[in-house]
Amino acid sequence: MSDTIATYADAVQQIAKAEGDGTVETQLASFAQALQDNDELSTTLSDSSLPVQRRQQVVEDLLGGRASKATSAVISMLVAAGRAKDIPAISKAVSERGSSSRGREYAEVRSAVPLTDDQTQRLAAALKKSTGKDVDINVVIDKTVVGGLVTQIGDTVIDGSVRSRLTKMRDAFN
């Protein structure tokens, strides 16, 4: 994580902490997921040739009444600062800091399909059993996973994806 990302994450974390209910953290994660899923949106918000006001208007149009004012302001500020492409990394850093401040572990789970609430709860329980700590799970939809899950907690990666098995199969063929 670069110093710039960490600095922005600290600033957003302070705003999220001031809001108190974790809404900013959750909604920022959702917006980061939307950016990762939509290359056109990511490119548009990162296009420095577009006026800042135009890019911020796109954010306002997207979020509308679906996000809090604090979340909208944070995302608008990041876009205006030319950090649209860094939003996923900033969101992850904010979530890690939020979990840490609550005495919990943060786990980013990559999956080809969304997890049901039951699956999320069972995964959290399984990770707690494995790590000994309560775990906040952020599911990131990533089609390259193909199937299964990839969980990253801190520096530990638990890769149970079909992609990794296919990669091993390719290596075995070669």
Partner: protein
């Protein structure tokens, strides 16, 4: 003189006037004596000088002839040496040519062997690379096919099952 005497008036070989004869004889002797007195020495000297000069010229000619003979002998000797040297040069050239021929043949044979070995190595390397390329291509195609089969058969139930199995493994 005989004609003059014959035509003399007295029919003798001496003039008719004997005194004329005597005086003529005396005058002749005087003149002859003066000539001998004044001319014999220089004449002898001239003759001696001429004799000496001719002798010198003959000696010089002899020397020149001897020198020419010596030069001729020397030239003949040199010609003989040149012939021997030429023969030696030709012989050396033949020897060197023969040696170079042997060396060139040996080098050509060596180069041919090396080229043959290199060609064999290149062929083997190309063959190995071709086999590796084919194997890689086959492996890639097989992997693509296997991946296509896997992804095509991943329906919602199987995706959910994969997630459930993952959760079970993490929790175990």
């Amino acid at each position: 003189m005989w004609t003059l005497a014959a035509e003399g008036p007295n029919g003798q070989w001496i003039p008719s006037d004997v005194n004329e004869f005597y005086w003529g004889a005396i005058a002749f002797l005087i003149v002859f004596g003066i000539m001998l007195w004044k001319g014999l020495g220089p004449l002898k000297e001239a003759m001696a000088a001429r004799t000496e000069r001719i002798g010198n010229e003959l000696a010089a000619a002899d020397n020149a002839k001897a020198e020419a003979d010596a030069r001729r002998a020397e030239q003949l000797s040199k010609i003989g040496d040149a012939d021997a040297e030429a023969s030696q040069i030709v012989a050396d050239a033949r020897t060197r040519a023969a040696s170079m021929k042997t060396e060139l043949i040996a080098k050509a044979e060596s180069d041919a062997v090396a080229a043959k070995e290199k060609a064999a190595i290149d062929i083997a390397a190309s063959k190995t690379q071709a086999l590796a390329d084919v194997r890689s291509e086959v492996a890639r195609n097989a992997a693509d096919a296997a991946e296509a089969v896997v992804t095509d058969n991943l329906d919602d139930a199987k995706l959910a099952s994969l997630i459930d199995n993952y959760i079970a493994e993490v929790g175990s």
